[in-house]
């Protein structure tokens, strides 16, 4: 869907993005992670040509982005930024309607889409449509920012530290919300973050950047299994590695027949959650149930621990 080929950007002779190549498959979430100054934001902004590359090519759906006028390209790509960037003089509804209005949708279609998105983000249209951004809480502002980015049903969504301004509780919720929306619309999403936890939580693939170079690009498990450089290894965190590994999959695949005592775990929870529950309860095994509470079997501590061993 997005094909980045040997892209370089220089400012004053210094390469801030240095010959970076990777591809984001359609319908997946790619996370660009790195410290500040690593070039991840510049790279993101080159995808929608807010910044144009000095060398290399970026293809979207096979089309070279430089062959499309910048503003037309950007109307096709959702863009959400840290601190939401809502227009302070426009209402929530007007903010969300920004791109549809640029695309000259008719009024009824715009209104229907605005209401749909407000519902989707659990903001009652009757209460919120006519409010101004400063009348919203931080979490609500952020949701409106994402809703605005999704308004014209873009196939691609770019997000620059979208949850950076939120407290940890709201951030977790917003991440889950994003995953749900991605599943629903099948949007291809590129997220920039400096938070490795966020990267592991959201990413189907993760691109680690440092000083303008792409150090490693792969699935989360690849980063754990074979960190390409000491920098990646440090970022992933030697101490956290087994727990991150367990967080990548659900309990469902580890259910064994048999019974166990204690608080049951839902099969859709992560293996990390299951391990935590087992350790906390001091049990060797806990019952596993489906989301509607049907017993499915049990999960054993030994089985879980074996899953946390370094993959080969």
């Amino acid at each position: 869907m997005i094909d980045i080929q040997s892209v370089t950007k220089r400012y004053g002779g210094k390469a801030v993005v240095d010959s970076v190549s990777f591809a984001v498959p359609e319908g997946t979430i790619a996370v660009l992670v790195g410290t500040s100054g690593s070039g991840k934001t510049t790279l993101l902004r080159m995808i929608n040509q807010l910044v144009s590359q000095d060398e290399g090519t970026i293809l979207i759906g096979g089309e070279d982005t430089r062959n499309i006028p910048g503003h037309e390209l950007r109307r096709r790509i959702g863009y959400a930024i840290q601190g939401h960037g809502l227009f302070p003089h426009r209402t929530v509804a007007e903010n969300i309607a920004t791109v549809p209005r640029l695309l000259k949708w008719d009024r009824t279609r715009i209104n229907a889409r605005v209401d749909e998105l407000l519902d989707l983000f659990q903001l009652d249209p009757a209460a919120f449509a006519d409010r101004y951004p400063h009348q919203l809480s931080g979490g609500q502002q952020q949701r409106v920012g994402v809703a605005r980015a999704l308004a014209a049903e873009p196939k691609i969504l770019l997000m620059d530290e979208p949850f950076g301004a939120l407290d940890p509780v709201l951030r977790g919720k917003a991440q889950d919300e994003l995953l749900a929306i991605q599943k629903r619309f099948g949007t291809t999403i590129v997220v920039v973050t400096h938070d490795i936890n966020e990267a592991f939580h959201l990413g189907d693939t993760i691109a680690v950047m440092d000083k303008g170079m792409l150090l490693q690009y792969g699935r989360p498990i690849d980063l754990l299994k074979a960190p390409a450089t000491p920098f990646v290894e440090g970022l992933v965190g030697a101490f956290d590695r087994p727990f991150r590994l367990l967080a990548l999959d659900t309990v469902a695949g580890l259910i064994e027949p048999g019974e166990a005592q204690g608080e049951p775990i839902e099969a859709v929870r992560t293996r990390q959650d299951a391990l935590a529950a087992l350790m906390w309860s001091g049990a060797d095994a806990l019952p596993v149930v489906s989301t509607d509470g049907k017993p499915l079997g049990r999960v054993r501590l030994q089985t879980l621990l074996r899953q946390a061993v370094r993959p080969q």
Binding site: R74, Y79, I81, L86, F87, P88, H89
Partner: protein
Amino acid sequence: MHKGRGLEKTGVLMAALILVSTFLLPFIVVKPNRILEGQGQMLIDALPSVSSIALAAALVIVGLCLLLRLPASARLAIVTAALLAVILALGSAANAGLPPGNSYARVSPGSGFWLLLFALSLAFIDVIAKLKLSPTVRLMLLLIAIVAVGGIFASGILADISVMKEYANRADAFWAEMSRHAMLALGSMLVAFLIGLPLGVVCHRVSWLRAAALNMLNILQTIPSIALFGLLILPLGWMAAHIPGAAAIGISGIGTAPAFVALVLYSLLPVVANTVAGLENVPREANDAARGAGMTDLQRLFSIEFPLTFPSLLAAIRIVLIQNIGMATIAALIGGGGMGVFVFQGLGQSAMDLVLLGALPTVAMSFVAAIVLDALVDFSKAPGSEVRPA
């Protein structure tokens, strides 16, 4: 804070001013003709005994009321009534003070009247400020005040006052110069925005140009107005003489053209500076989001940047308009017309009433402009147009 106890502090000053002007200063000045010095008359002597005593007593009571902590609405009523009474008293005092059959004699307001007017206006403004009225109500009040003042003048109550006699002698010229004055002030502001707004946008985008342009406009601002008028005589005179058609559209070395150009030049600094400052205050994220949403530069300028710069532009309008209304007075010196015509004629003839005929309407125009624009600034701060959350 105490309620209904103790003295109103600002009231002490106003009450003192009212008492001094009522009993110690001349209310009117009777002059043998429009130029000679006159004889002052106290309020007590200026009116028939019954009404003068009644008015003096009323003013004492008003002074005492201002000392007390009365509700603002009561103070407003008292002060308004006192203002009207003093103005009406001036009219009848002038009528009574004129020697019958002598058309050369003049009656001017004395220092006592001016001080009374000042003290009561101060009290009036004080009450209005304390009431914290909404901009709509303030505009309504202004409208009522304009109608009331117009009514007072139209009724002829003040017809015997010297300034009004000067007016009666040149009513046609007065309105012609008034509209010329307004045209100079408003027209130059309009042209300054037509030039300054695009210039401000360009200055905001191009940083080296910003420093150069703002510095140049700053220097321009320091040239004394009379010098600038003088400096423009040469180039504009040359243009009128050498460029075909220039003279036909009104360009000439003296007259309205150099005055207009000078006012435009003076207006450019506030317009450009406020445009740049306003654009700089547009949140960076809003601009980034607008570009990211696929707005073209023009769409972003008109639908994001200008609306968010609007309060800053309103402030520029306020500065420029009030500056121009005052400065347009000087245009008369180079034949540019406007209310300055009367001011300079009056100075030349040492006829102070004629000076006032030019000066008072200028002050009134600035005052009206300030109230209207302050109200507009408040409107633009209403919810929604607030640029940053509190």
